[in-house]
Amino acid sequence: MPVGQEFTNIGWSLPDGLPYLPWAAAAAKKRTEDLRKEDPTSFCLPIGIVRLHTIALLKKIVQVPGLLVILNEHNTSYRQIFTDGRPLPEDPNPSWVGYSSGTWDGDTLVVRTAGFRDGLWLDANGSPLTDAARITERFRRVNYGKLEIDITVDDAKAYSRPWTVRLNQFLALDTDLIDYVCNENEQDVSHLVGK
């Protein structure tokens, strides 16, 4: 399964790159220089909804009335997107994947998510996502085999303006999710010394 450029740099397709605020730019720079030793992935922690789209592991969508569930191979995890019209929670308990509610705009499912915990990474470069973030994803199944997702990140604590990237995802036939348990026989963390 190919790894897209967005796995390393979520703003790869943006002509001017990500509009970091100064502290966020410094954080991403330091994290990269430190060889990602503080990356949540390195500690087998959840990676958040954006990286779940860019990591080279399979996921599977299950759609039923009022709910869409994404099953992730990564850490054998799941994400719920409610399509029953519920509003986003007012003061939610901070969450790795946030709280997602979707509405239809024609053939596009527009998913709004809020309630993230602070300190998430959006990519391997360490682009930050804070607890102030709101993410909007526009899911469109272009044809049988292709899913297009436009992701808009609005996080005024870390970026000077909202920004949008497009991800293209392709159907994997004749296969299924398998176990991926990061902590199983994990022996790397003690060797991550950075720079």
Partner: protein, 68 residues
């Protein structure tokens, strides 16, 4: 002689059961679902999967993302 035959039979039977159990545990990949064919895939006239086929839809006419 009869006792020996019975004993040999039990040894052979036991070995066969153990071997069968071992083979079941060492089943090749084709017994796993990672190779299970996806159902309902539209096909081209050549019989290959047609990934450019129209988007599947649910009963209420919305695009169906299931399975992606």
């Amino acid at each position: 002689m009869r006792a020996m035959t019975w004993c040999a039979f039990r040894i052979v039977t036991g070995a066969a059961v153990a071997l069968t159990a071992m083979l079941v545990q060492l089943s090749p990949l084709d017994a796993q679902w990672v190779k299970y064919p996806t159902a309902g895939v539209p096909k081209t006239s050549a019989g290959t999967p047609n990934l450019n086929a129209p988007t599947p839809r649910t009963a209420d006419g919305k695009p169906d993302f299931s399975g992606v």
